[in-house]
């Protein structure tokens, strides 16, 4: 749209100015791209430097003359990075699967079933979207502790099994499916449950996948709850695992090994993002604009 503007300004075709404006735009965008990408470049670069050469560089080098995989070996052998990684995969998979069951049923009830009190309930659910996590986490911490669920997957998973926003997102999508399909299924004697899983969910697959991806990102990056609810490193996830590695792992100042761990932790989500980037960005911008 800025293009329109510059064109009006130029009007009669002083293409020099047009080029100048465009060049400035690209330089500006390029600078921001460098700022965004540089930390990633630096972590990968550092992770391939040997400990000795990193410590020997008073002036950090922008290249690596003797790349080594040693840091990656150290990251998996000297600290329980693999354990953190597997924990996070298990946590993410279980949370996402459970959440999907819960929200699919709820969204179906709101979108398709007709029952007393539905509208009031829906408003109540929407109101819950406003509640900040920080307010409820205190009691949840006490609840989980009292139930002796600290340092268990159950304790980690339970509070994040529902999400009102995803219920809302799915409900909106379910409602777009024509009623005729439902009536046809009913006449054929299909139960609601069968209709839901055999017809509705497959039709709404794009939204379901978006919800899954967004939840996976959320789970993979969750830090506060795991930190509160686990103090046994056997149950650490990658976020508090990285924090643990930073504070107690690798001995003193082994930055290259730490960077190797950081790369390992970052890679799955970067790949997920690159594969599903359009879906993720569309989902997030819907989250921002609430439909």
């Amino acid at each position: 749209m800025y293009r329109h503007m510059s064109r009006t300004a130029i009007g009669t075709g002083t293409s020099v100015r047009k080029h100048a404006v465009r060049t400035i735009m690209y330089i500006f965008l390029g600078i921001w791209a460098v700022i965004v990408l540089f930390p990633f470049y630096w972590m990968i670069l550092t992770s391939f430097k040997s400990y000795a050469s990193y410590m020997g560089e008073h002036l950090p080098k922008f290249y690596c003359s003797d790349p080594t995989f040693r840091n990656y070996v150290d990251a998996f052998t000297q600290v329980p990075l693999a354990k953190y990684f597997i924990n996070t995969v298990v946590f993410t998979a279980l949370t996402t699967a459970l959440m999907l069951m819960v929200i699919v049923f709820a969204a179906y009830a709101f979108a398709r079933l007709d029952f007393k009190g539905k509208n009031i309930m829906f408003v109540a659910f929407l109101a819950l979207m406003m509640i900040p996590n920080e307010l409820v986490i205190i009691t949840n911490f006490v609840t989980i502790t009292d139930m002796n669920l600290r340092n268990t997957f159950t304790g980690l998973i339970l509070p994040s099994v529902t999400s009102v926003f995803y219920i809302y997102l799915l409900k909106e999508n379910f409602e777009q499916v024509p009623d005729e399909l439902y009536y046809a299924a009913k006449i054929d004697g299909t139960s609601d449950l069968r209709y839901l899983f055999k017809v509705l969910v497959p039709i709404c697959r794009p939204t379901v996948i978006t919800v899954i991806i967004l939840k996976v990102i959320e789970c993979w990056n969750s830090y506060v709850w795991p930190r509160l609810i686990t103090d046994d490193p056997n149950y650490f996830l990658v976020s508090n695992g990285i924090q643990e590695i930073r504070e107690n792992g690798f001995g003193r100042e082994n930055i290259p090994a730490m960077m190797a761990a950081v790369v390992v932790v970052s890679i799955p989500l970067v790949i997920l993002f690159l594969v599903f980037r359009n879906r993720i960005m569309e989902g997030i911008s819907r989250e921002g604009t609430k439909g």
Binding site: M1, T139, S239, S285, G288
Partner: protein
């Protein structure tokens, strides 16, 4: 809403509907509704002991204690500074970047993808990279300090040095983290402005600046206000980005935030005080609510003008 399913509104239909809602209601009830009530109860229970689950009395002592705690006052000051710096800078910068992004065609998609990347990264992991970029150790002054030195200035220890140096790193990191969301929202807002307006402006020979202030800005102003409001809320709740840079002992670093104070009161070395944590959390949300309401009033007034 008015679709009447075949199940109808009979007792059986009603039961059927509630059955589908039941799992969600149980989880939301146990982990959202009950805790929301309970946090207020905790905040008024004086001398609550989590081991014996007993308390001495009911009153506002917890609030008084928290408001006099110098760590809490420090946390409030830190959070306010963080909010005041990061919200305007990130909103302004994201507007500039979004405008530039929508003005180019070649490589636009690539830029969009790259700019969104920080959103999906692990805050704790990338924070470590920022730490080593800014850190000054006995081995090296760190990359940022080398740049500073190349201008002839003195190196600063950004991670454990002077307060404003630490605050600067924190603001840089927080801005880096929040930019993707803002750029995404603003680029979609800019793309949704009807091109007819621009064509009309072009025919009238309107200057670019005027087109921007009279067409673009009014059209996307609801989204800008939205970003300011969510930006305030988000920045007030800053925590994991701070831990990522300065480690878990934020009080010692003098860099604690309100949310950090809440968690420290709840758990950890100084923890075990859910009542103080609850009071602090409620104070935080009183502040956030007030600012959100003020923001909404201002944005309404601006929108009607």
């Amino acid at each position: 809403m008015t679709k009447s399913g075949v199940t109808g509104k009979g007792i059986k239909g009603t039961l059927h509907g509630w059955l589908y809602l039941l799992p969600a209601m149980i989880f939301l009830g146990a982990f959202m509704v009950y805790p929301l009530i309970d946090v207020f109860v905790y905040s008024f229970e004086e001398g609550y002991n989590s081991a014996s689950q007993s308390y001495f009395g009911v009153g506002s002592y917890n609030y008084g204690y928290v408001l006099r705690d110098r760590y809490f006052l420090q946390a409030i000051a830190n959070t306010l500074i963080l909010v005041i710096i990061t919200v305007p800078v990130s909103t302004g910068l994201s507007l500039l970047i979004s405008l530039a992004l929508s003005s180019v065609k070649f490589l636009q998609k690539l830029f969009r993808t790259v700019f969104f990347l920080p959103y999906v990264t692990n805050t704790l992991a990338v924070g470590l990279v920022f730490m080593i970029l800014f850190q000054k150790t006995e081995y090296t002054d760190g990359l940022v300090n080398l740049i500073i030195e190349s201008f002839g200035w003195n190196a600063v220890d950004f991670i454990s040095g002077p307060y404003w140096a630490k605050m600067l790193v924190l603001c840089v990191y927080v801005i880096w983290i929040v930019m993707p969301f803002k750029i995404l929202i603003l680029t979609s807002a800019l793309a949704s402005v009807n091109p007819v307006y621009y064509k009309a402006a072009k025919i009238d020979g309107t200057s670019p600046l005027r087109t921007f202030t009279k067409i673009t800005l009014p059209m996307i102003s609801p989204m800008i206000f939205y970003l300011v409001i969510t930006g305030f809320i988000g920045a007030f709740k800053a925590y994991s980005d701070v831990v990522a840079i300065f480690g878990t002992n934020l009080n010692a670093a003098g860099m604690n935030t309100i949310v950090g104070y809440v968690y420290d009161m709840l758990y950890g070395d100084g923890g075990g005080y859910p009542s103080y944590a609850s009071s602090a959390a409620i104070i935080l949300f009183a502040i956030v609510l007030t600012i959100t309401v003020v923001n909404l009033i201002v944005s309404r007034r601006k929108a009607y003008n």
